[in-house]
């Protein structure tokens, strides 16, 4: 993985690190450095954030310190019970660290897609809606919000991510573990169910 070193199996590496062995901890850093460094850069790119080389290096250090500080408190949280590899876990941990950094700091530029809360759904009429129309839109929004809560989590998630947050359907499919072909019918069914909840048939 890194600089041609022989890889130590996850289990052995973890045991060595948790026992406080310096050689294993050093090997751990070397083994996963490239993964962490690459993930930091990719998260930054995906968020349109211009992370400086210093920031990337700092975040790299932050991730490993997070794992090893307080006698490896964070590292101890890894169980691998469902066959989750150390690499997969570290990738998610690193992604979370970068997102937290972007939320706190000024590296993030304007997000690619603007997230809309339900209250911000675009007006359905043209300029200067009447008071009646405004009441109708407000009521509709409230109905949609209420209706969403009555859907199954998966249907809610599709509508949240794609319809409200503007995420591409392909990305939503990846998150939900659905094929690109099926996601369209999943989305269609979710909207149908929402419509049925909001406007029940007599």
């Amino acid at each position: 993985m890194d600089q041609g070193l022989a890889l130590i199996p996850d289990k052995q590496l973890l045991a060595g690190c948790l026992s406080g062995d310096g050689h294993h901890q050093e090997a751990f850093v070397r083994q996963f450095s490239n993964l962490v460094f690459a993930t930091i850069q990719r998260v930054g790119i995906s968020k349109n954030a211009r992370l400086s080389q210093q920031t990337i290096a700092d975040l790299h250090q932050t991730v490993f310190l997070l794992l090893f500080e307080k006698k490896c408190q964070r590292l101890k949280q890894y169980r691998g019970k469902n066959g989750c590899s150390l690499a997969s876990w570290i990738r998610v941990l690193t992604t979370r660290a970068v997102l937290d950094h972007l939320r706190r700091g000024t590296d993030a530029l304007a997000p690619k897609r603007k997230a809309f809360a339900l209250e911000q759904l675009p007006e359905m009429t043209a300029s200067e809606p009447s008071a009646f129309e405004q009441l109708t839109v407000a009521e509709l929004r409230a109905e949609v919000a209420s209706g969403l809560k009555r859907l199954k989590p998966r249907d809610r998630l599709v509508i949240h991510m794609h319809c409200l947050e503007g995420q591409p359907l392909a990305r939503v499919a990846q998150v939900l573990g659905i094929s690109a072909q099926n996601i369209h019918s999943v989305k269609h069914r979710a909207i149908q169910r929402l419509r049925k909840v909001i406007i029940p048939e007599n």
């Binding site: 460094f37 998260v43 989750c84 997969s88 998610v92």
Partner: protein, 214 residues
Amino acid sequence: MKRICIDDETIADYLEGRVKPHTREQVERHLCDCAECRELVMTGALMLHDDASIPVDTVPTAVIQDTIEAVNAASGRRPVKMSRVMENARQLLDRGRSFFSELTPGLEPQPVALRGGVSVSGGENSYMLIRLADADIRMEIDETAPARFTLDIAPARDTFLETPLTVGLFDRGEEIASATLVDRPVQFEDLPGGRFKIRFSQAGRRLAEYLLEL
């Protein structure tokens, strides 16, 4: 009540399709209400599926080394390596030297005398006065032919050497010529251009040494 979000391993399991249906539903229910976890999951999916398509730099060795040192320090294992301190000091010294060169463009760094007198360097015809502890010595350099020099050394006016002075000329650590200076000039003839060391000794005791550039 503080919201408990989903741990990283469960997120990884969810993204990679290893969770059971019951857990999946719990995760998705949480994701509906938590924008931060939704963002993590969306970004995590991107990292998982489009990993190779976004070109990035490989981690520099210095970054790895710094991180290892930080982890060691945090674990209270050992201090920063002295080799690293020395390397940092060397870099600082190099920056100081280059800064000096920027401030004084065109100046050649002058040889530094070991003791007494002033450093000398010159070509063509140069004259300098060397002040030893108890005597002043005149030195004259004359370019008698292209890249060939003569070095004349004599006590300065009103200088009387009670003890003879030995003058030695060294080229790369090897003595190439020597003479004893009492009251008459000594001459080193037909010297090629280059860098030499000239040493003044008296009764076996080294008085001064200079770098000489011809």
